[in-house]
């Protein structure tokens, strides 16, 4: 089936939860809803499922309007972030429950449950009750219940958020594969950009109840349409520098002046926001930078900005450097262990090709170049 949201909004006591979203999800597709908490991911899923009715707009399944249809008449399966199972039933009965309601023959139920249990490695626990299981096993039970139903629309609302990290990685890899074979429209909500990238498919970025962009995941990531999308789809947070272009120079808010190169060269004069992802920043402490310029290495192509180190965080094989540049805060993600003293003077290197340039209206400038790239 295809699921289509047509200008859907939902307002709860004056507060807009979902603001005019139109979206078309194709049969057999994997779709990621990406957004911070309170961005409207769960609200949107509840509209898709039919648990809530939109204040305005229509929900279409295969072109048929199902807006007012109650959830139990729809072919939907949903997994919540909290582990939701029926505590009074055994794991087997939990998984079998949607099939029992459909009054399927016993043999068929047994076959489907054991297949789901095998896929989700629940076979040893079928006789237990959900509360006697670990969190990961409880969530797998919920996922198995969503799987056996063979619903046309499968909604997973941050299903892995409460699981430990090894299990997340394992399940994140398997889930799309398990559900892909069912031909369902698969919707996966997450707050983590990394998770969206690993899942692939298409991504819809949500911010404050609005859909900022929907498209193939990699494309949304590399070429965000606007500043909001880039911010949502960026972890660690996007470095956003306010700047003013006039002629061949760009004046940053902090007072630094750059040559207008790369994407900046073609943009008309005016106010911009320069966005750079943390892993695209390179950091050199001033001493070694001087040495290198002596030898003439390092292309003049790179933009160099002076900053001071505020905090260094080392996470095993990578380091986060938080730096101040005037009023603005920059975060760089660099490989290896880099410990720099707070207050140390550094140079931040930016490749102009990595700059995401956003106009005053938040739209990304220089989109014409995308075609060439």
């Amino acid at each position: 089936m295809t699921l289509e949201l047509d200008r859907v909004s939902r307002t709860v006591s004056g507060v807009p939860y979902i603001d005019d979203i139109s979206l078309k999800l194709e049969r057999g597709s994997l779709n990621v809803l990406l957004g911070a908490t309170l961005a409207g991911k769960t609200s949107l899923m509840r509209l898709m499922a039919g648990l809530d009715a939109p204040t305005s707009g229509r929900v279409l399944v295969d072109g048929r309007d199902v807006t007012g249809q109650p959830v139990k008449k729809r072919s939907v399966a949903m997994v919540y972030q909290q582990f939701i199972n029926y505590p009074s039933l055994s794991v087997y009965e939990n998984i079998a429950s949607p099939l029992r309601v459909q009054r399927l023959p016993k043999a068929e139920i047994a076959a489907r449950v054991s297949e789901a249990a095998r896929l989700l490695k629940l076979e040893p626990y079928l006789e237990r009750t959900p509360l006697a299981l670990s969190g990961g096993q409880q969530q797998r039970t919920a996922i198995a219940r969503a799987l056996v139903k063979r619903a046309d629309l499968v909604l997973l609302d941050e299903p892995l958020a409460n699981l430990d990290y090894k299990l997340r990685e394992e399940l994140r890899e398997e889930l799309p594969r398990i559900f892909a074979s069912t031909g369902a429209v698969f919707v996966y909500a997450t707050t983590e950009p990394t998770e969206a990238l690993l899942l692939g498919g298409s991504t819809a970025c949500l911010m404050e109840g609005r859909l900022t962009q929907f498209g193939p995941t990699a494309q949304v990531y590399r070429r965000p349409g606007d500043l909001a999308t880039a911010r949502v789809f960026s972890d660690p947070p996007l470095n956003a520098l306010r700047a003013n272009k006039s002629g061949h120079t760009v004046l940053l808010d902090g007072g630094a002046v750059l040559p207008a190169s790369g994407v900046l060269a073609d943009a008309p004069d005016g106010a911009y926001t320069i966005g750079v992802r943390a892993h695209h920043l390179e950091v050199e402490d001033v001493a070694s930078a001087e040495r290198r310029s002596d030898t003439g290495a390092g292309g003049g192509r790179l933009i160099r900005l002076a900053a001071t180190v505020a905090v260094t965080e080392v996470t095993g094989s990578e380091s986060f450097l938080h730096m101040d540049m005037g009023e603005q805060r920059l975060t760089a993600l660099v490989p290896g262990v880099r410990r720099l003293e707070p207050g140390a003077a550094v140079e931040v290197l930016i490749d102009p090709d990595h700059i995401l340039l956003f106009g005053a209206d938040g739209r990304r400038a220089g989109r014409a170049l995308d075609a060439a790239a």
């Binding site: 499922a49 648990l51 109650p70 959830v71 139990k72 939907v76 399966a77 949903m78 919540y80 909290q82 939701i84 029926y86 505590p87 009074s88 039933l89 429950s97 949607p98 309601v101 459909q102 919920a142 219940r145 139903k149």
Partner: protein, 273 residues
């Protein structure tokens, strides 16, 4: 060995023992009396029956004017408990799951019903039930007690129901359960202890309530507590018989408490623990 820890634990044992004796003494005395002859009761203090007799119990179980009191009491108490829980379950679900205008006021008003003394309601109930022919039936008392027990059961059950995540209701709807099937198959087992506690409180309040029970019955549905208060005969008080009746009155309550003992604390907190 007499370590300080040992000594202090022995101290608390003594305190507990004294307290328990203090609590249980009246009950022991009741049992003690029920097993004595009236002559022994009247002739002085004896700590245990010198001439053990079961005549009082035998009289209660053979004399219909006595045992029918128990039957009547149990009838209206059970009726009341069943009615109260049956009405309170959907009401509590509505309070727990839906938001509607005046919900909070209605909820509070329910509980405030318990604040009025029962005597206030005795007269209207008497007049009403006499008019419609319910007077002196177990139904009269059972329905009258609903006035106090339905609100209480709603409060207790609402607390337990609010402890069940709403997502379970939704998951059941997504799975395709109809509401009645979901309610009975999935939801009620989750609040089973709440239902038990609510039933216990209904049972208990109905079992010990005397004023309405006495006002609304005459002879056919006379409850045991009323029978006990009307046993002063020309020959004076039949102490032993009264004591035996008292012992038998304690037993149903004690049995029910035994079954819900693990949940009572939560029930007193109206499920909000």
């Amino acid at each position: 060995m007499s370590t300080p820890a040992n000594r202090s634990s022995r101290g608390s044992t003594v305190v507990m023992a004294v307290y328990l004796i203090f609590l249980l003494l009246p009950i022991y005395w009741l049992v003690n009396m029920s097993l004595k002859t009236n002559f022994e009761i009247n002739s002085g203090v004896t700590l245990w029956p010198q001439a053990l007799t079961f005549e009082h119990y035998i009289k209660i179980f053979t004399d219909s004017s006595w045992y029918s009191g128990y039957v009547n009491s149990l009838t209206y108490v059970v009726l009341n408990t069943v009615i109260s829980i049956t009405l309170a379950l959907p009401a509590a679900y509505a309070f727990s799951r839906y938001r509607f205008v005046g919900e909070k006021h209605l909820f509070f008003w329910l509980l405030s019903n318990r604040m009025a003394p029962p005597a206030v309601f005795a007269l209207p109930f008497f007049n009403l039930y006499s008019a419609i022919g319910l007077f002196d039936t177990p139904w009269a008392v059972a329905l009258a007690h609903c006035l106090f027990n339905v609100p209480l059961a709603v409060w207790i059950l609402e607390g337990f129901m609010s402890g069940v995540p709403r997502e379970i209701d939704e998951t059941a709807a997504i799975d395709g359960y109809s509401f009645p099937r979901f309610f009975v198959r999935i939801f009620m087992p989750l609040i089973a202890s709440g239902i038990g506690v609510a039933a216990f409180f209904c049972f208990m309040f109905s079992w010990v309530e005397l004023l309405l029970a006495r006002t609304l019955t005459a002879t056919n549905a006379k409850p045991i507590a009323v029978t006990m208060t009307r046993t002063v005969s020309a020959a004076g008080m039949d102490w032993g018989l009264l004591a035996a009746a008292g012992v038998l009155t304690i037993i149903p309550g004690a049995l029910v408490i035994w079954f819900v003992r693990n949940y009572i604390a939560k029930g007193f907190a109206l499920g909000r623990v």
